[in-house]
Symmetry: C2
């Protein structure tokens, strides 16, 4: 297992060397975890000429949820008042003959970057940019297996909620109950703040649960995910409360369902990200809901809940096999509510059966 991390670091090191830096400093937590198997709070990873080293301000053993560090990695515990580990890492390099250190300019603040630069004045700071994020896009089967488990956990939590009585309960309480159930089923925690939206809130993306209560005849939309071994899944479903949905509700649901299906069906290796977005978006557009649609209709998932690729009109790039993404179009009608349907899928070649659906809760319109 820990070979995996060593190989990932090797790949990054090769890339840095090719760009002229013999050393790299990784500070973004998800990137640290991807390359070392753990990310204790504040830890940074130094890939240096003298080997790889994880600099930790707190003992990683104290936080089991942070994962276990790879055994090929040297661990250096910093004293409690030892300051910024990134500065300490640059200090270590000062003793070697390293001339150029690649750092994550999209993660380090200006103030930290300056502090790193001033500890080793002869050291040139280059930009690692999104090199690690790019490496993270295509997942191995171990990573996909963690995502699969994360998705199963969320399916279970959602399934149990649907069996309980919903009318009269607040969005906030339903969200908390879902999060408790995620943990009951083995999640490390929610993958992101659970969203429960009812009545006029239904269908709003990333709606923060309020004190609004679930009412008969309203839409209820739910979006949740589990974190499992650091990997984060996402599922969103919309229901109708009561015995029979109104015609406008059925029509809106069918429309969003058609858009979501079109997006899912466009997930093939080699497809342009913007074409997947367009497949879903044009269904909504043709029905007159083009205005006010969110920026993207899906995104990558993994160690972070929102990572590359983006499925959006301006997105560059193509999908590869083994890339997990969400497909999550929705329509919100101000004052009335709306519908969102959101799955996590893994892009697979047609020969392997096409996209692998990780979130298997039904997408029929359930009246609860």
């Amino acid at each position: 297992m820990s070979e995996v991390f060593a190989l990932r670091r090797e790949r990054l090191r090769d890339r840095c060397l090719a760009a002229g830096s013999a050393a790299a400093l990784v500070s973004r937590p998800a990137n640290v975890r991807y390359l070392s198997g753990t990310a204790p709070a504040g830890a940074v990873l130094l890939l240096g000429p003298g080997g790889d080293e994880l600099l930790c301000p707190v003992d990683p053993a104290g936080d089991p949820a942070a994962g276990r560090p790879d055994e090929h990695l040297r661990l250096r515990m910093l004293p409690a008042a030892g300051g910024d580990p990134a500065v300490a890492a640059a200090g270590l390099l000062g003793a070697t003959n390293t001339r150029s250190l690649a750092v994550e300019e999209h993660h380090l603040t200006v103030a930290r970057h300056r502090a790193i630069g001033s500890v080793s004045p002869g050291l040139h700071l280059a930009d690692l940019a999104g090199a690690v994020e790019q490496q993270r896009i295509i997942k191995d089967e171990e990573e996909i297996s963690s995502l699969r488990t994360a998705a199963e956990i969320a399916d279970q939590a959602l399934g149990e909620l649907l069996e309980s009585i919903l009318v009269g309960r607040t969005e906030r309480h339903l969200a908390l109950e879902l999060e408790r159930r995620l943990i009951d089923h083995g999640a490390e925690g929610p993958a992101f703040p659970t969203s429960v939206a009812t009545g006029p809130n239904a269908g709003l993306r990333r709606h923060r649960p309020s004190d609004r209560r679930v009412e008969e005849g309203h839409f209820l939309s739910v979006c949740l995910g589990a974190a499992y071994r650091g990997y984060r899944s996402e599922i969103g479903r919309t229901f109708v409360i009561g015995t029979s949905p109104a015609n406008w509700q059925v029509d809106l649901y069918d429309l969003v369902f058609a858009a979501q299906r079109a997006g899912r069906e466009a997930l093939v290796p080699g497809a342009a990200c913007r074409d997947v977005d367009r497949a879903a978006r044009q269904v909504l557009d043709a029905a007159g809901h083009g205005e006010g649609l969110p920026q993207s209709t899906g995104h990558g998932v993994g160690l972070e809940i929102d990572e590359d690729p983006q499925l959006a009109p301006a997105a560059m790039g193509k999908l590869d096999a083994c890339v997990p993404v969400t497909v999550e179009p929705g329509v919100h009608l101000p004052g009335r509510g709306g519908v969102r349907i959101d799955d996590t899928l893994v892009v697979r070649p047609e020969a392997d059966g096409g996209p692998e659906l990780l979130t298997i809760t039904t997408k029929e319109l359930l009246a609860l």
Copy 2:
């Protein structure tokens, strides 16, 4: 009410002008909220020669928990794919004759800073540094009132937990139940991840709840807080499970209690922060527990759970009246567990009765 925000901005503007910048760009969310009454996701605040403007990538009305923006403030909604609001703000300034813009170098990443600089090449970017954080240290009575309510909510949640049966339940479940109760009592959410630690975990600072179950004869330590109107309180207590604590447990508890009381009693306007820390620390030190103590024995609270001042050996500066801080010494014995006691108090002059205790749950050693 919204006069308050306008006055805070005025004070910051005066400070920037004195330092040579006619404009400031505030990006750190707690700082944005402090100066504008709201902090919708991604919003930045521009204090410019043409007035104050909040640039929002999402509609602040959609997120009631983010607070309501001050009515003296111009709101500018950015289009969904409009890019970084900080860059948009710098672009607006380009049209004026502003020469220098102060930005938060401790918050902006190197990449964002560069993007801001490149949109208006004639504009000099100065460093706002911690100017807003410094303004936030002394609270007004409105802020203290929000903290008081936040502390009451946590007291209520904790009180209810103590009446329930604890043996056999896991740390994770107790933490979730506490968070549910915080929300029941009107919190916007937990102020920070609730920590529940039992057995050998008890007394560990910021312990992440695990699947360990509460057992007879063990210590149980709990640390929680509520967020109310954006303000965050903190309370920590340690209990013994079962009918009668062992002698070592009573002794350890009495020691930490004495240290915590010493820290509380040192909270007077004008006291050096390091002296408050020393008051608590030397009690533990004298009993042979000086090794392995955390870096600080307390910190400021407000719109963030950990803000200035720090109560630590190397801390500079003195306490003022109306500064809310935690006092939270603890001792952890590896393999056996330990004790932490944590209050939120407001520094007040002796004439006003001395430090105001916001977290009023008893600090007697309860056997549950």
